[in-house]
């Protein structure tokens, strides 16, 4: 088989998708030349344009809403589903038909990710889609765009890397991989987005990165995209005289991003207008958000400006007579954006948690505290011991109240504003200063919107052709809950122990690990296990049984389940099995149950429950 001609990176973002590629034959050592594929998409009914980004929105049009030919793409396309720019634009006036943030729903633990639930809470007539289907749709759009431009090198034959947030749990990763396989991608690898951003930085430096970091550095990647914030810590170590990068910790999934910021500014201005007796409808609020985004960019880029006018155009044809003029001042931007989302805070501060109302509708679990810096403080404090078992990092470990990063790499469109980069860096340096640690350096990156796609293509290339790699493995250790058998005591739940199945940092392609404990599975009946993950317990080995742990160490995830088919076993028979874990080449976690008796010892797949809370009550 000839090797794939292109290495492709796909950034499957919450608000935007992008595809970058490397033609492997044209690369020489660390000179890797990258391209971004322009994605043809509908920008208005009947008009197709190429844009570097594909907005991750899916619009489900009414059959009479568009003329039949007005929704066709160069490759035909599905007239019942529109994605890209037109979807976003149309959705701003008809939100009940717009699927947005499908990626955030894909990792929502309380819903069935393959059930048609999006857009949520809409009239029954609208044909909903599942978060999984939406993801498949975006990937299909990118595939068709690629195949149209490279008819002799179709996407499914190329080396493809798809990025996922570092905070995605095994089930969400599995779903992403499944979506990629559903569009026919054969050579697939998943990569965490902050790692992709770092790869992009490494690639841009063309080998000079070795002079910019040294052994003992801890690089903090702060990635604030359109819809999510993602943190990772990457330590620089040395092996056989060469620098190595180790991803030592990832943050939690925080639904907080640039879109929240623009919306907040729009609400500030809306209140100001309300005080003057001007009420805005939904369409005008949308236009105001758009205007505020531009005004914000102007204010953040130019420190001299005190205020920027914002005009909300009238919806009707009377533009001059019906427009509303207002302005966004520097004070408002500073108060809402810089002090609201990036406040100065102490290293000991934590994000505020409100108790959620008991009767909340199922919606996205948006972050309750908008302060990115407080989320960052919590992350660094939780990971204070992340480098404890790395050679040369011991001195960091024991006395610091949080992990001291020595370099910071920013990613995501929000950080195109220098002011915000400087603010986050200065806050981190205040924390470091308070513990007498040297200030962290800024690693200069370019193209913050496209870095993830670029890094992913670079990774797809170096995987095959060699080059610097970030070692990572699983970002958590994983456990199954085992109930201890004890006499029932009324009013007390049986004591729960946690058996470690997957140690922290289990790398892809390494030997499968088997816990020595045996479990009895009832043939023909689905068996569920409670499943836990920990981002801080790094020492636990497979097979270790935890009897107690502190509340913030282990976090309960969705259940895992398996079922032994009754082909070779008698229905209802109890078969002893071992649980085995392996990280596939793709980068997904695979759990299997292996019978320990009998002739047929074929392993059975243990699957992640992606059917949400409703699945548990089946």
């Amino acid at each position: 088989m000839s090797s794939p001609r292109f290495a492709i990176g796909i950034d499957l973002g919450t608000t935007h998708c992008a595809l970058s590629y490397v033609e492997s034959a044209k690369c020489e050592g660390e000179e890797v030349e990258q391209q971004i594929m322009p994605v043809p998409q509908l920008t208005a009914p009947g008009s197709v344009e190429e844009r570097t980004l594909l907005p991750s929105f899916l619009y489900l049009p009414h059959p009479d809403e568009f003329r039949a030919g007005d929704l066709s793409l160069p490759w035909g396309g599905d007239p019942g589903r529109v994605s890209g720019e037109l979807a976003r634009r149309q959705g701003s006036t008809t939100p009940i038909r717009l699927v947005a943030s499908a990626k955030s729903w894909l990792c929502h633990p309380d819903v069935d990710r393959k059930a048609a639930i999006l857009p949520p809470d809409v009239p029954a007539e609208i044909d909903q889609v599942s978060p999984f289907d939406a993801t498949v749709h975006y990937l299909t759009h990118l595939r068709e765009a690629w195949n149209g431009q490279h008819p002799y090198a179709p996407l499914h034959q190329q080396e493809v890397t798809v990025t996922v947030p570092a905070s995605f749990d095994p089930a969400a990763r599995e779903l992403t991989a499944e979506a990629a396989r559903a569009v026919g991608i054969e050579h697939l690898v998943l990569l965490e987005e902050p790692q992709a951003a770092l790869y992009s930085w490494v690639n841009d430096s063309q080998g000079r990165w070795r002079h910019e970091v040294k052994v003992g550095d801890i690089i903090l990647v702060v990635d604030v995209g359109g819809g999510t914030s993602d943190f990772s810590l990457i330590a620089v170590t040395e092996e056989d005289g060469a620098l190595e990068l180790n991803r030592v910790a990832v943050g939690e999934h925080i639904l907080l991003g640039g879109d929240n910021m623009d919306l907040t500014l729009a609400h500030v201005v809306r209140q100001k207008l309300k005080a003057l007796g001007v009420d805005l409808d939904r369409w005008q609020l949308q236009a105001l958000t758009h205007g505020c985004r531009q005004a914000k960019e102007a204010l953040l880029a130019d420190a001299e400006l005190e205020s920027v006018p914002v005009v909300v155009p009238s919806r009707g044809a009377k533009l001059i007579g019906g427009s509303i003029r207002t302005e966004l001042t520097r004070a408002e931007v500073t108060r809402t954006l810089i002090d609201g989302f990036f406040p100065e805070c102490a290293a000991a501060d934590r994000p505020a948690q409100r108790a959620r109302g008991a009767l909340t509708k199922v919606g996205l679990p948006f972050a309750q505290d908008p302060a990115v810096t407080r989320h960052l403080a919590a992350f660094l404090a939780k990971q204070a011991g992340a480098t404890g078992d790395l050679e040369g990092f011991v001195e960091h470990a024991h006395w610091a109240s949080f992990l001291h990063p020595t370099a910071v790499l920013f990613n995501g469109g929000v950080f195109n504003a220098t002011v915000l980069r400087e603010r986050v860096l200065s806050v981190i340096n205040q924390w470091l200063g308070a513990e007498d640690a040297p200030p962290a350096r800024l690693l200069a990156a370019r193209d913050l919107d496209l870095a993830v796609a670029r890094g992913a293509a670079f990774y797809a290339h170096v995987r095959r052709h060699g080059g610097v790699r970030i070692r990572g493995g699983t970002s958590h250790s994983y456990y199954v809950g085992v109930e201890r058998s004890m006499p029932a005591i009324p009013g007390m739940e049986p004591e729960l122990h946690a058996l470690c199945l997957v140690p922290f940092g289990l790398e892809e392609g390494s030997e499968p690990l088997t816990a020595p404990q045996e479990f009895g599975l009832v043939v023909g009946e689905p068996v569920r296990f409670r499943f836990f993950g920990s981002s801080v317990r790094r020492e636990d080995r497979a097979g270790e049984m935890l009897e107690e742990w502190s509340a913030d160490e282990l976090e309960e995830m969705e259940e895992i389940q398996t079922s032994l088919p009754a082909e070779h076993w008698k229905q209802g028979e109890v078969v002893p099995v071992h649980l085995q874990a392996v990280v596939s080449e793709v980068g997904t976690l695979e759990l299997t149950a292996i019978p320990t008796v009998g002739n047929d010892r074929t392993p059975w797949k243990v699957s992640f429950n992606t059917r949400g809370a409703s699945g548990r009550s089946e």
Binding site: E49, P313, R315, L319, I320, S323, R325
Partner: protein, 236 residues
């Protein structure tokens, strides 16, 4: 003593000795000349034949060119377009003398309205361009017009940036001295004012000019009606 008269043959001998080689040389020349003449007559005859063979078609063209107006136009087009390098042999009886082909007639083409309408609809969509131009401005204050102009300016500018790459024709600052060399392109640089004499011309740059370096208009589905610049909106 008898004077023996030399015989005739003896007297002729020296004459013959001179004449015979001359004659033989002349014969030889004659033969050579005959060969050359014969060869050339063959060539000439061939050439003549080539030309003569065209006689029927040229006569036919002459006749039909005079009789048939369409045919004459076709021939004229052929001549103006320069497809044929042979000058048309037109007899003295031609009715319309052809002008010299020094300034070829401009081939005027009407550009389809599609791309113009497409650009207009983009300007309307992003910058409310048509709304702005179609509205009567006299009743509004400068401040109101100015507020709306911001919407138009920001939106139309976005369209320009996104769909066209526009660069100045001359990179020099306006007001700086410029020299136009002989053979400059009058389409991209227009000399004005005291235009006399021969290039190089010197003057100062009044306007830098604009050049569309690249046009990236969206592709439009063949069934799409580009005459709808902005659809009417009905909120349900």
């Amino acid at each position: 003593m008898t004077d023996a008269k030399p015989s005739l043959s003896d007297r002729l001998k020296p004459v013959l000795a001179v004449v015979i080689p001359l004659l033989s040389k002349a014969w030889m020349w004659l033969r050579k000349a005959t060969v050359v003449v014969a060869r050339w007559s063959v060539v000439l005859a061939r050439k003549t034949w080539v030309v003569l063979r065209r006689l029927p078609i040229s006569l036919y063209s002459l006749y039909r060119g005079l009789a048939d107006a369409d045919y004459a136009r076709t021939l004229t087009d052929l001549y103006v377009a320069g497809s044929s390098s042979l000058p048309l042999t037109v007899g003295p009886g031609r009715s319309k003398p052809e002008p010299a082909p020094a300034a070829p007639a401009a081939v005027l083409q009407t550009s389809g309205p599609d791309s113009a309408l497409l650009l207009l609809s983009l300007l309307q969509k992003e910058g409310r361009f048509i709304d702005f131009l179609e509205e009567e401005v006299t009743g509004y204050t400068d401040q109101e017009v100015g507020a709306a102009a911001r919407v138009v300016h920001a939106g139309c500018r976005r369209v320009l940036r996104q769909h066209l790459s526009i660069a100045p024709v001359r990179e020099e600052a306006e007001g700086s001295p410029i020299t136009l060399m002989k053979g400059f392109d009058p389409a991209s640089v227009r000399p004005t004012g005291n235009v006399v004499g021969e290039p190089p011309f010197t003057g100062s740059l009044v306007h830098r000019g604009w050049r569309a370096v690249e046009v990236r208009l969206p592709q439009v589905a063949s069934s799409h009606d580009v005459h709808i610049l902005a659809a009417a909106e009905v909120e349900l």
